[in-house]
Symmetry: C2
Subunit: 388 residues, 2 copies
Amino acid sequence: MAREFPADSVGLVTPQTQHFDAPLRLESGRELPAYDLIYETYGELNAARSNAILVCHALSSDHHAAGYHSEDDRKPGWWEACIGPGKPIDTDRFFVVCCNNLGGCKGSTGPMSVNPETGKPWGPDFPVVTVGDWVASQARLADVLGIEQWAAVVGGSLGGMQALQWAIDYPERLRHALVIAASPKLTAQNIAFNEVARQAIMSDPDFHAGHYYEHGTIPRRGLMIARMLGHITYLSDDSMRAKFGRELREGKLNFGFDVEFQVESYLRYQGQSFVERFDANTYLLMTKALDYFDPASRHGGDLSAALAPVRARMLVVSFTSDWRFSPQRSREIVKALLDGDKEVSYAEIEATQGHDAFLMPIEKYLDVFHAYMGNVAAECATTGEDAQ
Amino acid sequence: MAREFPADSVGLVTPQTQHFDAPLRLESGRELPAYDLIYETYGELNAARSNAILVCHALSSDHHAAGYHSEDDRKPGWWEACIGPGKPIDTDRFFVVCCNNLGGCKGSTGPMSVNPETGKPWGPDFPVVTVGDWVASQARLADVLGIEQWAAVVGGSLGGMQALQWAIDYPERLRHALVIAASPKLTAQNIAFNEVARQAIMSDPDFHAGHYYEHGTIPRRGLMIARMLGHITYLSDDSMRAKFGRELREGKLNFGFDVEFQVESYLRYQGQSFVERFDANTYLLMTKALDYFDPASRHGGDLSAALAPVRARMLVVSFTSDWRFSPQRSREIVKALLDGDKEVSYAEIEATQGHDAFLMPIEKYLDVFHAYMGNVAAECATTGEDAQ
C-alpha cells in the first residue's frame, strides 16, 4: 500500500537535471566550460509562466526543499515547513523551483564532478563560485524553464543573499524578493568562524590538498569539526540551554574525555552524520561564497547605491535570537532599501531558535511569510506592476 | 647597561618552585601522589603576613602575571596592566602570589611531568583537575608561605571562578574575592565550544590518544584550531570589526583558499604561535575544569545556597561586550550573593573588547579595580573584620 504523505506536503518528488553547454564566465574571471544543475519543482507552472517562485538554498542544503524522494523517505525536504499546499509558499498557487548550486555535492556540477580537461574530479581545482555566479546560473535555468520573471525569489541565510543579489542583478526578472535571516555581508567574526572551519578541513591529513577522492580518503575529522562549529552558530545560547542545559549523559561527571554533557553527544552526532552526506571541498566553496558576499563593496561600501537597481518589492525577516546574522544586519538591508525609496516590509520575529529559526515552523514567522506571499500575485499585471 | 623597566612595573621577576610531598586527594576521587607548583611573587610580605593577594590565572595563562623574566624579555606578564607599583593590585602595598595551576604546562605538575609510577610523562593519564582542586592546592601553597588569610583572591575568567571557589571553600582564609569576567557555570554553548576545541585536538592523528610525547609528535593542527576558535570567543564582534573589518590582506579577492582577510591572517598567526608555547593535554584539562565548574550543582542548582559559607567581601566585574561570559552571568553571581545577604559590589564596564577586556588597560575598569583595592586593608583588623 502506498504511503500517505501529509495533505500539506507536496508528497513524492523527483529531481531533474539540466545540462548547460554554454560556458559560464565566473566572477573570478575563470570559466566553467559546461555544467549541470539538478533541481526540483513543486506545483504547476501556469500558462502565462508567471507563477514561478525560485527558492535558494543555504550553505549545506540543496535542491530538495520539500516533499519526499521515496515512499520510505524518513525526512522531507529542508523547507517542508514553508513549502506545500496551503503553506506560505503555496504550491496550489505557485510553481516552485529549487536547484542545487554550482559547487554543490548533491548533483549539480561541483568538486566531485569530472573536470572535462583532466578526466578526473575537479576537486580543489573547481573554481571559487560567488553568490553572483549562482544567480547567473539560476537565471539560465529560468531561461530553459521559460520563466521570464519570477513571482518571487526567496531564501534564508546564504539563500537570502541570493534573493538579494537577484534583485540587484536582474531587477526586471523578479517581482518580489524575500530575504530571510541574511546579512548584507559577513562580519569579521563570521569570516573568522568560516576560517576556523576551513582550517579544520584543510589541515586534516586526509584532505590531501583537496585531492582526497584520488587518495580514497575523506577528511572526516576536519569536516566533522567544521560542522560542529557551524552548528553552534546556527543555534542560540538560549535554544541550546533549552535543549540541553548542562545535562549529563550518564547523570554524573566521569572525569574523562568521553562524552559527558548531552550537548557534546548531540554535536558529535551532528558532525559525524554530516560527514556521510556532504563533501568537504563543497563546504570550503560555500564558506567562501559567504565571505565574498558584499554587494556594497563595488559602491565604496554604499549599500543603498548597490541596491539602486532593485525594482522588486522586498520582505526582510530576522529572528531575535539569531546571532550569526542578527536582526541588526537585516535592518541594515532595510535601511539601505528605504534610503533608496524601495518598497520593503520588515519583520523581526521573536524566536529562541537562533539562526536555524528560518527553517522552523514558528507560528508568527509562518504567519508573516504566509501573509506576504498572499499578496504576491501569481499573474503579472499588464502594467508590469503587481496586481494586488 | 641594565634595561630600565617602566617605573610602574615590578621589573625583573624569577619564578620559584614549591614541591609538595603529601598526596592531594582530587574531586575525581583520584590522588596526585606528589606535585610541584611554580609561582611568582611581587612586593613584600609584611610582618603580620596580612597583605598577601592571590592572583589566579585563566585557561591558557600561567604564574607569570607581571614583570619580566629577563633584561631582554619582550613581553611582560599577562596582567601587567593591573599589577605593579601604583596599579590596582599595588605591589607597594601588597605581596602578590600567582601560581601555575596543576595540570599546567609551565612548570607546575601536569601532563608533561613524569608520572612516578611509570617513569614516563603523565600524558593523558594525568587526572582531571577541577577548580576546587586548584583552590585546595593553592591553599597548601599559602600554608607553605605562611599566609593564613589572603587580603584578597583575585582572578578573571577561569581565574574568577577560582576566586569564587576560594570564598566558598575557605571562607576564613580570604577577606575579599574579586571575580572578574566570570560565570557561575558554563552554558551549553560554552561547553559546546570547548567540545569542538577538544575534538579538534583529540582527532588530530598526531595526538596519539594523548601519548604524543612518546611519539615525538605534537597535535599542532588540532591545538591550532582549538586556539583559533577560543580566540573568536575572547573577542567581541565589535572589536573584531574595529580591528580587522573586512579588510583584505592583498587589497583584493584572490578567489582561492590562502589568507584573504586580515582576520584570517591574525587567527592563523595566533593559532600557530600558541602551538609553540602550550601543551595540548593541558588545554584539554583546562577546558574540562571550565565545563565542570558549577558550585550550585551540589545544592540542587541553588547558587545562593552554594554561596552561603562566603564571608569575604566581593567585587564582581563584567564587560558589556563579553559574550563568552556576559554581564548577565556576573549578575547571577551578584544576585545569589545579595539573596544571601553577602557584601558585594558590582561593576559592569562599558567595553568593546569582549571577554579579553579583563586583561586590558581600560580606564574605567582600572579605576573601579583600583578604588576597590584601595579599600582592601593590608592589615587584618583585630576583630577579624576589615579596618577601613
